[in-house]
C-alpha cells in the first residue's frame, strides 16, 4: 500500500514536472534560436554596412581608374612609364579590335619579365573573360562610361583587372597591384577600438580559403556571420567573430529558477502529504494490529468460558431449572461475545484486505439451525418466534464459519432492533448453484433513504425504537463484505412490513461419495 502510494505520488509529481521541463527546454531553445538569429541579424547588418563601404571604395577606385585609362595612349614607352610611376598598377594592357594583344604583345622582342609573366597568366584567362563580357551589362557601372571588373586566381592569389572599351572598339585595361589594392582597401576598414566599451567582437576581411588580410577587434571567438563582398571582390568575405554566446540565458535562468522553486515546493508539499498519509497508515496499522492482538488474547479466556459452561451444562441436574437457565445465559453470552470478536476481527482484516475464504463442505440448513440455536435463549426471552423454512438440505461447498457469521449478524439485528415484531422468518432455498437465505422481521423497518447507508460502517439508525439498542454498527457492513467474498451479496429487499434481508451466496453442490 505504501509502495503503491509512493508510486502514485511520484507519478503525480514527476509527470507534470517532466512536461513543464520539456516545455521549458523547448521554449528556451526556441528563445535561444530567436535571440541568436537576432544577434546574427545585427552582426550581419554591421557587415552589410562595411560592404557598402567597400562598394563605395570600388566605385571611387573605378572613377580613378577610368580617369587614368582616359589619359593613356598606345605608346609603349609611355605605357611602361605609367606602369612604373603608378603604384596601383601592376600591368597595363591593350587588346586590338580583333581581340589580339596590342600591348604587351608576344611579338615584342623587348618584353620585360613582368610583361612576359602577364602574358603567360593572362593569355587565355583574361582573353576569354573579357571576350565573354558584355560591356553593356557590366556589374559596375560608371556614371557615363562602362568599365568592367574581372578577376581570376593565379597561384592561389586573386588577380584583379579593370578594363574599358574604347571608341575604336579596343579594350584597354589595368591589372591592379594586388598588395597596393588590398592595403588601400584595408584603410577603409576601422581600427581595433581602444577601451572597447561594447561587447568584444572581431571582424576579419579574408578570402574564401580563410586567409585573413585584415581584421579588427579583440575577440578570440568563433566565426558567427559571414558576408561575401560584391563583385569584383565576391571571392572575398567579411567574417564576424564573437565568443560563444548564451542568448536567452536570463530567460533560462528565470525559468529554471522558477521551475526549481516549483519542484522544491511540490516535493515539500508531496513529502508532507506522503508523510502524513504514511503516518495515518501506520496509525491505522497499529490500530489493526492492536485489534488483532486484543481479539486474539480475548479468544483464549472466551474459549474457556464457553467450553466450561457447556461442560457444566452436561453435569447439571436436569431438574435444576435455575442452574440450567443461568448456564444457558453463560453459553449464550459467550457465543455473543464470540460473534462480536469475530465481527471486530473481520472488520480489522477487511481494513487490511485480509479477508479470506476457506471453503469446505457443509449444509446451509444446518448452519441456520445452529445459528438459531445460538440465539434461542435471547430470542425466547424477547418473545420472538422463529419461523424457519428450508427447501433442501444438500451438502454444498461453502465457508461454514463465514456463513454462520453472516446469519448470526442478521438474526442479531432482528433481536436488537426489531424485537417488537415478535417474529423472525428465515427462508432458505436453492437457485442453481446459489443459496438464497432471506431473514425478515415485522419490526419498524428501514426508511428508504437509509437503505444503502445501513451497510456503511458504524452507521446506525437513530430513532426511538433503536435508541436503547447496543451494537457496534459494523454487523451489516461485515455481513455484506463476507457475502461478497463468498461470491454473492446481501441486500435489503422490499417488504410489506418490517425489514427483509436477502443473502445470496455461491454454493456449488458437492457430489456424494
Amino acid at each position: 500500500m505504501k509502495f503503491k502510494l509512493l508510486i502514485i505520488f511520484l507519478f503525480i509529481l514527476i509527470l507534470p514536472l517532466t512536461l513543464l521541463l520539456g516545455i521549458g527546454l523547448k521554449w528556451s531553445q526556441d528563445e535561444q534560436k530567436i535571440i541568436q538569429n537576432q544577434i546574427n541579424e545585427l552582426n550581419l547588418q554591421k557587415l552589410q554596412l562595411l560592404r557598402q563601404t567597400v562598394d563605395s571604395f570600388i566605385q571611387n577606385e573605378q572613377k580613378e581608374l577610368h580617369e587614368f585609362l582616359s589619359s593613356i595612349n598606345e605608346d609603349k614607352s609611355q605605357l611602361r612609364d605609367l606602369i612604373r610611376k603608378s603604384p596601383k598598377v601592376s600591368q597595363l594592357f591593350i587588346l586590338d579590335s580583333k581581340g589580339g594583344w596590342s600591348y604587351p604583345s608576344p611579338a615584342m622582342d623587348d618584353l620585360s619579365e613582368n610583361e612576359r609573366q602577364f602574358l603567360e597568366r593572362s593569355d587565355k584567362r583574361l582573353y576569354q573573360k573579357i571576350r565573354q563580357m558584355d560591356f553593356q551589362a557590366g556589374e559596375v557601372q560608371r556614371s557615363s562610361q562602362l568599365g568592367i571588373w574581372s578577376s581570376y586566381f593565379w597561384n592561389n592569389q586573386m588577380v584583379l583587372i579593370y578594363s574599358e572599351k574604347t571608341a575604336e572598339n579596343k579594350i584597354i585595361g589595368i591589372e591592379l597591384n594586388r598588395i597596393n589594392f588590398i592595403s588601400r582597401l584595408m584603410s577603409v576598414f576601422p581600427d581595433t577600438p581602444q577601451n572597447e566599451k561594447s561587447k568584444p567582437f572581431r571582424i576579419s576581411f579574408n578570402d574564401s580559403q580563410g586567409n585573413i588580410f585584415y581584421q579588427w577587434g579583440s575577440n578570440k571567438g568563433t566565426p558567427k556571420v559571414k558576408l561575401n563582398l560584391s563583385s569584383p571582390l565576391d571571392s572575398m568575405e567579411l567574417t564576424y567573430y564573437s565568443e560563444e554566446e548564451n542568448p536567452g540565458r536570463s530567460f533560462r535562468f528565470n525559468f529554471f529558477s522558477g521551475l526549481g522553486f516549483l519542484v522544491v515546493s511540490l516535493l515539500g508539499m508531496g513529502f508532507y502529504f506522503y508523510r502524513e498519509n504514511a503516518r495515518e497508515i501506520r496509525e491505522a496499522e497499529k490500530r489493526v494490529t492492536f485489534v488483532n492482538l486484543v481479539s486474539h488474547e480475548l479468544k483464549t479466556p472466551l474459549t474457556n468460558i464457553r467450553m466450561y459452561s457447556e461442560l457444566l451444562e452436561q453435569y447439571l441436574d436436569e431438574t435444576d431449572e435455575k442452574s440450567s437457565q443461568y448456564l444457558k445465559v453463560l453459553v449464550s453470552e459467550s457465543e455473543r461475545l464470540s460473534r462480536l470478536i469475530g465481527n471486530v476481527l473481520s472488520f480489522a482484516k477487511k481494513e487490511k484486505n485480509q479477508l479470506k475464504l476457506r471453503k469446505n463442505s457443509g449444509s446451509i440448513k444446518k448452519i441456520i439451525e445452529k445459528s438459531i440455536e445460538q440465539f434461542s435463549l435471547s430470542l425466547k426471552e424477547k418473545g420472538i418466534e422463529v419461523v424457519f423454512t428450508s427447501q433442501e438440505d444438500s451438502l454444498v461447498e461453502l465457508d461454514e464459519d463465514l456463513v454462520l457469521q453472516i446469519i448470526g449478524n442478521l438474526i442479531s439485528n432482528v433481536e436488537k432492533y426489531a424485537p417488537l415484531g415478535k417474529v423472525i422468518k428465515i427462508e432458505h432455498r436453492k437457485e442453481g448453484e446459489r443459496s438464497v437465505v432471506t431473514v425478515s422481521d415485522e419490526g419498524p423497518g428501514i426508511p428508504k433513504e437509509k437503505r444503502e447507508k445501513i451497510f456503511e460502517p458504524f452507521f446506525r439508525l437513530a430513532n426511538q425504537l433503536t435508541a436503547g439498542a447496543t451494537g457496534t454498527g459494523i454487523g451489516l457492513t461485515i455481513a455484506r463484505d463476507l457475502a461478497r467474498l463468498h461470491g454473492g451479496d446481501l441486500v435489503l429487499v422490499d417488504s410489506e412490513k418490517g425489514a427483509s434481508f436477502q443473502l445470496t451466496i455461491l454454493t456449488p453442490e458437492i457430489q456424494g461419495d
Partner: protein, 227 residues
C-alpha cells in the same frame, strides 16, 4: 482409541481432555511441544490435537516430526488465528482439520468424530461392522445410527455402550461391567456419569426416552437390552 492433546493453556487442555474422555477416548495431555513429542513417541496415539503456538516446540514443528514418522496419522490443529490455519494449510503439513478458538463442545465433538471415522476406515478396526438393535441400524465405523430415515450421531462411548448391549442381548449388565467395558479399568467416573450417558443415549435412540424400550433399567442391577 487414544488422542494426544497438546495445548499450553491449562484450562483449555483440561477442558479438551474432559470432552474427549466423555466421548469415550483415551487421552494423553501435553503442555508444550516437547512433551507432546515425548508422549507421541512413548504412547503412539491414534490421532493428535495440536495447538499451534506452544512453548519449546511449536505445533508446526511437532506436526512435521510426527509426519516424518507417520504420514497417515490424523492431526487436528487448534488456533485462535485463521492466519495460522492458512499457514498450516500452506505449509502442507497434512492437517486433517482445524478448530478455531473460541470453540463449542459440539464443534470439537463433530470434528473429532469425523477424524475417528477416517481412522476406522484407514485402520480397518475389528468389530466395526454394522449391527441392528430392533429398528436401529448401527454403523460403528461411521459413529452413526439410522432409525428409518433419521440419522443419529453417536459418540465413541455411546457406540461402545450399544455394542456391549448388543453382544449381551437379553442379559442384565451391571453398572460396574458397563463402566469397565466402556470407560476402562483405569477410569473412575462417578455413578452419575453412567446414568447421564444412558439418559443422553436414550434421548437419541428411544421413541420415548421416558419409557425406554431398547435400553431398559433393571433397578438394583443395571441395564438390559432385551432384543
Amino acid at each position: 482409541m487414544k488422542v494426544l492433546i497438546a495445548e499450553d493453556d491449562e484450562n483449555i487442555r483440561k477442558g479438551l481432555v474432559e470432552i474427549l474422555q466423555n466421548e469415550g477416548y483415551g487421552t494423553l495431555a501435553a503442555k508444550d511441544g516437547r512433551e507432546a513429542l515425548i508422549l507421541f513417541e512413548k504412547d503412539s496415539p491414534d490421532f493428535v490435537c495440536l495447538d499451534i503456538m506452544m512453548p519449546e516446540v511449536s505445533g508446526y514443528d511437532v506436526c512435521r516430526e510426527i509426519r516424518r514418522r507417520n504420514q497417515a496419522l490424523p492431526v487436528i490443529f487448534i488456533s485462535a488465528k485463521s492466519e495460522e490455519i492458512d499457514k498450516v494449510l500452506g505449509l502442507e503439513l497434512g492437517a486433517d482439520d482445524y478448530i478455531l478458538k473460541p470453540f463449542g463442545i459440539k464443534e470439537v465433538i463433530a470434528r473429532i468424530r469425523a477424524v475417528t471415522r477416517r481412522c476406522f476406515k484407514m485402520n480397518k478396526i475389528e468389530g466395526t461392522s454394522l449391527f441392528k438393535m430392533r429398528d436401529l441400524e448401527i454403523d460403528p465405523s461411521e459413529l452413526k445410527a439410522k432409525k428409518g430415515k433419521e440419522v443419529i450421531e453417536l459418540s465413541l462411548r455411546e457406540m461402545k455402550i450399544l455394542e456391549l448391549f448388543y453382544h449381551n442381548k437379553g442379559k442384565v449388565i451391571d453398572r460396574d461391567k458397563i463402566m469397565n467395558e466402556c470407560w476402562g479399568m483405569d477410569y473412575f467416573p462417578n455413578s452419575r456419569t453412567l446414568d447421564q450417558h444412558i439418559s443422553k443415549l436414550r434421548k437419541k435412540i428411544e421413541i420415548d426416552p421416558k419409557e425406554p424400550n431398547l435400553i431398559q433399567t433393571i433397578h438394583g442391577s443395571g441395564y438390559r437390552y432385551s432384543g
